[in-house]
Amino acid sequence: MKLKISLLSICYCLSLFGECCLWHSIPRNQLYIGPEIYQVHREKFHREKEEGGAQDRLLYGSQEGLLYGFRMGYDRIKRYHYYLGADFLYATGELKGYDLLNNTIKSTMTDINLEGRAGYTIEMKCWWQPSLTPFVGGGYFWESNDFQHPSPKKIHFQNKFNYVTGGFLSRLRFLQDWTIGVNFKLRYLISGKIKVTNDPNEEDHNQTYQEKLQYRVELPITNYRTFHCYECALSVVPFYEYRPYGRRENFPQNFFKTTYNIYGATFKFMYLF
């Protein structure tokens, strides 16, 4: 009996795989736009030497809030062909929390990101048509955090950096109209600088920080549809992003170690051609 069930399962799978080979291919060009919403957890650390104390004291502050905006972009993904991709993100929102001295702080945070990528796609024609697209690229990130009432210091920080990126996109067509994947991206920051403005005690100046590797993991789930003869898709892309900036002594003011843990999702409306 068990043997029969196993054989039948294998036969079913084989027939399914055979059918997968008959599925028409997904159009290569994808143009998309959609809302992106994410929860930001920003943490700040400072190790302070206690006077007369044998050990250092670790000061900690954090902020949380929801950022919302949109992401638009283009991807060209074709089996055994070069890959091209670009996207643009704009998101803004309010962060609330407390500083290293436990004062309540509030700020408006804005993220703007422009990125371009190039790579190559490897894809199987049969089974669930798994595909892997390793890529490299570069981009520019503009991240501002403007502190406001009731923060004790209403200083504005504009962090701008160029970066090179590398990673991969992947896709598994588990049903004819559905794909699932894992995307991974590493960012290597090239020239990070924070412009500090609105400080009544200091002139406007630039801070630098220790550039650290940042990464982002996405799990896109996409449903392909035909709408009035146009091929379209709807995609939900839950993601996690880690953005650390290392401590550095600066003049006139130091930069403390800061990390961002970001969880969110992008909803993409895709036009395929």
Binding site: E48, D99, L100, G192, R248, F251
Partner: protein, 229 residues
């Protein structure tokens, strides 16, 4: 005063004279305020003039002189086989030092890699500075002091590269017996640091420890930790 600095000012502005002029007088004013007349013919080459000036100052036992040309300071040093602690650092040298320290402290690694040749050129321009003078210039300046902290924090090639330069010149001057007690006392007095903290690493020629002591023990003038949000 050990070193004898000459201030030389061109009383007659060179730029005001037509190119057809046959010659001019240059008035040098020494550090005691006494004028010295130097006649320059139109056929004289700049290098000839400088050679004769260097000869003059050499005969008078000067270590260096400062020349002011069109409001720009030019340092002409008498060649010595050692680095003179008492020779003050000029504005131009301080500018080169600031460029090196700032670049190492703030620029990204790829950017430092691209700036390598200009960093080397700037290094060549200050290679004659006495190591204690070099460190004194850094730790006297609030901004460069912060950059010294940043260079140490960055570690790796940046810190070892910086310390490599300091160690090389310090070892050379130690071999020449040119890191004297009077220099160390003056150095400690100017930087307001306990001389007993810096004598042991200097005696052991442990230059990394010396710079670590300077970074750890010379406080920054203002609280640099205001951005705590």
């Amino acid at each position: 005063m050990r070193n004898f600095m000459w201030a030389m000012s061109i009383v007659a502005g060179i730029g005001c004279f037509p190119s057809t002029m046959v010659g001019m007088n240059l008035t040098l004013i020494n550090s005691e305020g006494a004028p010295i007349e130097v006649a320059i013919n139109s056929s004289d080459k700049f290098s000839d003039i400088m050679t004769s000036l260097a000869g003059y100052f050499g005969e008078n036992g000067t270590a260096s002189m400062t020349m002011l040309v069109a409001n720009e300071e030019v340092m002409i040093r008498k060649k010595t086989h050692y680095r003179d602690y008492w020779t003050p650092v000029t504005k131009a040298e301080k500018k080169e030092l600031y460029y090196i320290v700032k670049t190492l402290a703030r620029d990204s690694l790829p950017s430092i890699g691209l700036s390598n040749s200009s960093l080397n050129k700037a290094g060549d321009k200050i290679v004659h500075l006495h190591p204690l003078n070099f460190l004194k210039t850094i730790f006297e300046d609030e901004e460069m002091k912060a950059y010294a902290h940043a260079i140490r924090d960055r570690g790796g090639l940046i810190w070892s590269g910086f310390m490599g330069g300091v160690s090389k010149s310090s070892d050379q001057e130690t071999a020449r017996n040119n890191i004297k007690e009077e220099f160390i006392e003056d150095f400690a007095m100017i930087l307001k640091i306990d001389v007993n903290l810096i004598i042991p690493p200097i005696q052991k020629s442990n230059w990394k420890d010396l710079v670590n002591v300077l970074i750890d023990k010379i406080p920054r003038a203002n609280d640099p930790n205001r951005y705590d949000m």
